[in-house]
Symmetry: C2
Subunit: 450 residues, 2 copies
Amino acid sequence: MRPERYVDLHMDDVISDLQTLIRQPSISAKNEGIEECAVLVGKILKSSGITSEILRLGKNAPPIVYGEIISKSNPDKTLLFYNHYDVQPAEPLELWDHLPFEAVRVGNKIFGRGATDDKGELITRIKAVSAYLKTVGDTPCNIKFVVEGEEEIGSPHMKKYLQRYEKKFSCDAIVWEFGYVDSKNRPIIGLGMKGLLFVELLVSESVRDAHSSLAVLIRNPAWRLVEALNTLVDAKGHILVKDWYKETRGFSKKELDIISSEPFDETAFKKEFGIKSFVGKKRGMDAKKALVGGATCNIAGIISGYTGIGAKTVLPRQALAKLDFRLIPGMNPERQVKRLRAHLKSKGFGDIQIRVFHGLAAARTQPTDPFVCNVVDAAEESFGSSILSVSNAGTGPMHPFVDVLGAPCISVGSTYIFSRIHSPNEFARIDLLKKTTKCMCKIMENFGKC
Amino acid sequence: MRPERYVDLHMDDVISDLQTLIRQPSISAKNEGIEECAVLVGKILKSSGITSEILRLGKNAPPIVYGEIISKSNPDKTLLFYNHYDVQPAEPLELWDHLPFEAVRVGNKIFGRGATDDKGELITRIKAVSAYLKTVGDTPCNIKFVVEGEEEIGSPHMKKYLQRYEKKFSCDAIVWEFGYVDSKNRPIIGLGMKGLLFVELLVSESVRDAHSSLAVLIRNPAWRLVEALNTLVDAKGHILVKDWYKETRGFSKKELDIISSEPFDETAFKKEFGIKSFVGKKRGMDAKKALVGGATCNIAGIISGYTGIGAKTVLPRQALAKLDFRLIPGMNPERQVKRLRAHLKSKGFGDIQIRVFHGLAAARTQPTDPFVCNVVDAAEESFGSSILSVSNAGTGPMHPFVDVLGAPCISVGSTYIFSRIHSPNEFARIDLLKKTTKCMCKIMENFGKC
């Protein structure tokens, strides 16, 4: 029997194992059920015929569940599945139609926190491997599972795990933990993710708030913050920090072709957000290039003084801005922080305190990598179509995987774009679970062959 | 007997009437005890021999208590006392050592909300008039009392009251409701107050917050606000709006002399606020001129996006700034709003919504006005010294009085600068109540004679 046929016949197993996983809460933000869920994932791996092991880094890091199958027929090629067993908090609870950890099935849907993100996605990988073992008795290549427990809080220990277990995790290709399926059921195959640098700028002036009549003499830190911010970008969003783009490169011909063929409904997008035009009046190909490869400096938050209702004449003592910079390939977060610091100093704002929260570089797999072809073919066969994307506009911890393991890394759609991940009534579509499981079988097969 | 001697002998009356007044809460912000306190003030005026009347403007405006004495000896000259019977809320209650409306006397102090601001100040005026009536049987000039009930919430109906009762309130000079006594017991004689324009600027972009990865396409309203604000002032605090200073004038020779002789301890001021230098590196006479006559554009508040702890990558839909502009003589609030609007439009920010909260022009009495001399002499005699000030750095509703009644208006110290007005444990110093009451007697006498 073909493994794909086995999947068709055994969807009940997929569903019941997913329900079991959902019913074990595992909220990393609250450290709730993490250990228990790691143990459960290990059990599910084992019962699916996959060797499993709990890896640890120290007391403060949740464990990683590691799984492995050595292929008898093809032991020189390894595919790694990266997933996570932790979930977002379920709040606000009152907005759920069913209990978030009840895993209720209604028709084609399974409702629950983590139903899709990422327990649903994890189960498709496990069940694809299991289908191979049950039918062929072997996998087309070695398989490794790296299932972490902190993705929803920014994967703070992932890089250290990768460095510590570099040899154990060594592989030739990586399937990323998530990927979207668009509203027309087309899976999006993503070859990269942008990086992120998140900083706070704090301007302090006097030791306490003052009556605003004293603004004739006491400098207002909000004014200084406004002045400093205004030196960072121009009206088109171009970042004015010296050498900010120095190590970046343009798109290759192949990347431009992919961008050009990616669908993007400008009118629908503008309607969705109620806007009339884009930053810098971008249109068409320029807008698509920006989504895939534009760097930004975004004011995620700014606050100073009195922000309640009505009027209060106060001269605040401090002003704070939170900035997120999306980084593109070539930008190193540490180097960019140094440049930001030098920029502020050179403009007379050396006293502004810079606090760095995250720094994560971008990652991008070359479209010419043979693994891309394996994934595209598998997706086309399983979903009937696919969309190739040079990079997600968002950020994920893809860079340490690509950097430490030196392997191509691709995300492939399994998550329906409107499946309410991180929101109440998150659900998984059973039809997509099936297609994705079969797609994973196909990816293993294609990858094993090449 | 001289009225001043009568005051010396009857301080117990001053104290007990003040205690009675404090014990009647009158919190305008909560509309608590306002009517009751107006009636009580009327009673105290009557029992002091002053004709009294409750004036009304409509249902929403608290009443004004009006009091009047027509002088038998000098019925052609009128002095008006402006005061208020409302007080600030007493919260936080747990920080009071005695109940805020108990009016406990401890040694030289009477504690309670309103003990100084403005019930203590009001009682000195009433008792000065009463002392004249009890001793001389007449006042040296006509006396009018205008005691409002909304000063602590910005005197929203005062201008309308002045216009409606312009004839009734007509006078030749006005004594302002408050005035400070400095830490060396020197009363400050203030000839003016700055005006204030308080506005909100609101930038709206999309219909909802977006994931900040979309900052490549969706404009960030916080950036537009920062850009817009940056066009308003230069680094020295000079306002860049066209014609902002057009109708203002410099200081006269006499005003410069006064400013020059006003004490100002720069070092102590800087130490108090923990700052090393002033805006635009001002020093000496420039700093003093700024306090008395500098216009400002102050960011009293700014907010957009996520302002909690940690990082959140959001692209906010709106950004808001609260600005207070201190106005100097010649600046008309309505005209300045028009200029601000035109400025933003001309810089490409015509979409920014401007919401005007208050607009109040500055007021300044000429130092050459004979009433200044009357007050200075009275203060010198009662307090042993005085400090003349061209204008307070702060704002008060002095302009409509000066404008509608066409009379000079002067504030004269009676409030100890550290008497915790608006704060827990507000108190009045009995020695200052006595000196101020005698000073008011003297002002009436001097004014009646000239």
